[in-house]
């Protein structure tokens, strides 16, 4: 239909692809870390949900890393530790953290939706939707514009933070916390 893009245009397009995917990968690294923190403060069904979402983010992280390598770039590494946006000391705060992590992941995937390649756009849009669904599950409410607007951390609906505070392991410095225990269901 049209001539092949020039080498410089193709290079710029690939650089944009890599940058957007790296942004999403960075958000996934943070989510994997953050769910480790959240899971330590949840119990019962909520902890199982955290384990499932934690596993989803691990899988997404690996997928993104493979995509970035396929583009000839080096995937960004996870940080040794991440600054939590607020102290997480109990189940309610853990639920707030999980919802915020998902909001930020959604925002990162929105960058992928802006890429030129249809395949990457759809990938980004589906990942955005998955993050929005998880955020809604945690928060109990929907957002009008997931990814476009990351709300400030706030209270969740009554009854959402059902887990009791647990003495859970403190976040170890220098390495991500262990995953929440419990079965990782699909």
């Amino acid at each position: 239909m049209s001539a092949s893009p020039s080498p410089s245009a193709a290079g710029a397009g690939r650089a944009a692809d890599v940058a957007a995917l790296q942004g999403a990968l960075d958000a996934e690294h943070a989510a994997v870390y953050g769910y480790g923190v959240a899971g330590a403060h949840l119990a019962g069904a909520r902890q199982k949900e955290a384990a499932r979402d934690w596993a989803a983010h691990e899988a997404a992280r690996d997928t993104l890393a493979a995509m970035i390598i396929a583009l000839g770039a080096q995937p960004v590494a996870a940080a040794a530790a991440y600054q939590l946006p607020f102290p997480v000391r109990n189940g309610q705060e853990a639920v707030m953290l999980a919802a915020l992590l998902e909001d930020r992941v959604a925002a990162a995937y929105l960058g992928v939706v802006a890429l030129s390649a249809a395949r990457l756009r759809m990938f980004g849009a589906r990942a955005l939707q998955s993050a929005a669904l998880r955020a809604t599950s945690w928060r109990g409410t929907a957002l009008a514009f997931p990814g476009l607007e990351v709300p400030a951390p706030g209270p969740v609906l009554a009854g959402q933070g059902t887990a009791q505070p647990t003495p859970g392991p403190s976040t170890p410095g220098g390495s991500p916390p262990p995953p929440p225990s419990g079965p990782v269901g699909g």
């Binding site: 949900e49 959604a106 929105l110 939706v113 849009a125 939707q129 955020a135 009008a144």
Partner: protein
């Protein structure tokens, strides 16, 4: 910002073409057939029609099952936000000069018929939300980047509405 302003001006120019042509009298013949609107104008119009019809579905349900108002109001308000954001991307020509939309969704004279029981009404809206999200996702590859982002975000919002309308939501 500058880029957004440019996009808006392009959309506005495209949307105003039929109006300009209509005011030209004999100029129409001289100009020939006005060019079709840009593809993203059609995408935005489709999305506007979709949101408008979704809101009419919610309103029909709220009329038929007022007991659902508490849970449905936040969702319909978000649809109104979607509609406002979409409309902001398009400067409409005068309503009488707007060509009829092939889908006719927004101009259906009789509003949608909503089921009369809470469970059936929620299911009706859930399916509509799922379909709307799927339709928007189908448009994003043809849209310019910023519009694709908006459509993807609205599609995600509608998918979350469907989740909230699911009985015993958050299935394992």
């Amino acid at each position: 910002m500058g880029r957004g302003a440019t996009r808006r001006s392009v959309l506005a120019a495209a949307a105003s073409l039929p109006l300009a042509a209509a005011g030209c009298g004999k100029g129409i013949g001289a100009l020939g057939t006005p060019p079709p609107p840009l593809p993203d104008v059609a995408i935005v119009r489709d999305a506007i029609d979709g949101e408008t019809f979704m809101i009419s579905r919610y309103n029909a349900v709220l009329t038929a099952v007022p007991a659902l108002a508490g849970s449905l109001r936040p969702l319909v308000e978000q649809h109104q936000e979607h509609l406002a954001r979409l409309r902001a991307r398009l400067i409409e020509p005068h309503p009488s000069s707007r060509p009829p939309h092939p889908s006719g969704a927004a101009t259906t004279p009789a509003g949608p018929q909503a089921p009369g029981t809470p469970a059936a009404a929620q299911d009706y809206l859930r399916l509509a939300e799922q379909a709307a999200a799927s339709t928007l996702l189908g448009k994003i590859t043809a849209a310019p980047p910023s519009l694709a982002q908006l459509l993807a975000s609205i599609a995600a919002s509608e998918a979350t509405h469907a989740l909230l309308l699911t009985p015993g939501r958050r299935p394992g």
